[in-house]
Amino acid sequence: MAERLRVHVDPDKCQGHARCKALAPELFELDEYGNAHEAGDGVVPPGLEDKAWLAKSNCPEIAIDVIEE
């Protein structure tokens, strides 16, 4: 069983649609160009799992991975 989730943004794929930031502001940060990276080490705090999956399924560039650890 998955113990915890981690999100990761592939910087080569991300084009700054900012969907992740809108749907899961706790899990993603944007740089000055509006491109995203995961907040901190990307570990998803308990209770935010749904938001992690939602961000992944709404990223038009398929740039977000949700890793089950």
Binding site: A18, A22, Y33, G34, S57, N58, C59, P60
Partner: protein, 406 residues
């Protein structure tokens, strides 16, 4: 402009699969069944019109092309009847290919981040309310002409630092470029020249009196070597921001209101649950995506198994991709609380719309303010809804009756 090509006649389409034409009145009126027919035939279809043009019909084929900058060039972004020489710095970065693309795009990104847009929100709310004040007492309104149209034009004018009162001038140029210009070269050239002259005057003014708007921002920008941008680049980007900023969002707001006018269930739900508006905006963007871009095939390749040959244009239809049932369940239905929505309304790949955060904010505010003040409205059966032609799809005439039905 006597040397320009006269407007071409387009015979009506009888065979959509082999002879499609996105300027045909039938397509303008209701493109959705046509896309379904094309998609059932092939992931990539071809027409001899427009000097040879492909159209990817599936999300996957659109994605492949959008991400393939080796075989597909962005130097021409509108499918037209003619292919004049490509002007340098036509409208960077949308007309730029790698490697010029990245620096040109990075220049424009910072003023359009979600945080930057948040600062603009109060001004947008004020604009929407001013517009509503202008017609709410009349009991009826053309919501495209008197509401949707002026929201984006005033927003971008505000950002560029040019008078919002010149809105009608800008709207006319956009119409000449994006609609009339597909078939009439002289209209396009005239609009581009007038626009450039207009911006040159503003650039001149700012030389003695710098401002904190986007025109000054571009004038002050420096490249990696510390050099200012060429004037043609500044002008090209200004033209792009004005052209891309207006018609697109006007269309998206118009289509959204059109949907809500004829779908009372969705309208009532958004009034009861305003928190759902951002999700609904994404779905309305998917279902009624306004923008179809173009590419030019510069090297022969294969897309979704279909060979494509150099020298042809590509009608890169993000709207058709967004209706692909392989990608979206119930793709032909508007599901305002759709949770999984990877729609491509703002494009895919490096040419993702720079203004997407602005457009989203405008749509959200425009719907919030409208629904707050005008919860009841419907299509006026005595009027006609009219749609734009070609590159950007949206209602240009949207007659509504306001208030509860008697």
């Amino acid at each position: 402009m006597s040397d320009a090509t006269p407007p071409a006649a387009h015979p009506p389409v009888t065979d959509w699969v082999h002879d499609f034409d996105h300027t045909d009145p039938q397509w303008t009126e209701d493109p959705f069944p046509i896309w379904e027919e094309l998609r059932a035939a092939s992931p990539v279809v071809h027409t001899e019109r427009f000097l040879g043009c492909y159209m990817p019909t599936t999300y996957e084929a659109v994605r492949e092309i959008a991400n393939d900058t080796e075989h597909f060039s962005s130097r021409r972004i509108i499918v037209r009847d003619v292919r004049p020489e490509v002007a340098r710095n036509a409208a960077p970065p949308i007309t730029s290919d790698p490697p010029e693309h990245k620096p040109a795009k990075q220049l424009l990104l910072p003023p359009f981040t979600p945080d930057a847009m948040k600062k603009l929100e109060p001004r947008m709310r004020a604009i929407c309310n001013e517009l509503i004040d202008g017609f709410i007492a009349d009991g009826k309104v053309d919501a495209a002409a008197r509401y949707a149209k002026y929201i984006p034009v005033r927003a971008i004018a505000h950002m560029l630092g040019i008078p919002e009162s010149d809105s009608d001038l800008f709207i006319n140029w956009i119409h000449m470029i994006l609609e009339l210009g597909i078939k009439d070269e002289s209209k396009l050239l005239q609009a581009v020249q007038e626009m450039s002259a207009y911006f040159r005057t503003h650039i001149e003014e700012r030389r003695s009196k710098p401002t904190d708007d986007l025109i000054s921002y571009l004038m002050n920008a420096r490249d990696k070597e510390g050099q200012p941008l060429e004037e043609s680049h500044v002008l090209g980007s200004l033209r792009l921001l004005l052209i891309a900023g207006i018609d697109t969002t006007w269309s998206a707001i118009g289509s959204s209101l059109w949907h809500l006018a004829k779908t009372p269930g969705d309208r009532e739900r958004l009034i009861a649950e305003p928190g759902l508006i951002p999700t609904a905006v994404e779905e309305l963007l998917r279902a009624y995506s306004p923008v179809t871009m173009a590419r030019e095939v510069v090297k022969e390749t294969t897309i979704s198994g279909c060979p494509v040959k150099a020298g042809n244009m590509v009608l890169l239809s993000f709207p058709a991709a967004n209706r692909d049932p392989e990608m979206f369940s119930d793709a032909d239905k508007v599901v305002i609380d759709r949770r999984e929505n990877r729609h491509a309304a703002f494009g895919l790949g490096i040419h993702r719309c720079v203004g997407s955060n602005l457009a989203r904010m405008e749509m959200q505010v425009a719907l919030e303010e409208w629904l707050r003040r005008i919860p009841d409205f419907r299509l006026d059966p005595a009027g006609t809804v009219a749609w734009s032609q070609g590159t950007v799809r949206g209602p240009r005439q949207l007659p509504f009756l306001l208030g509860k039905a008697m």
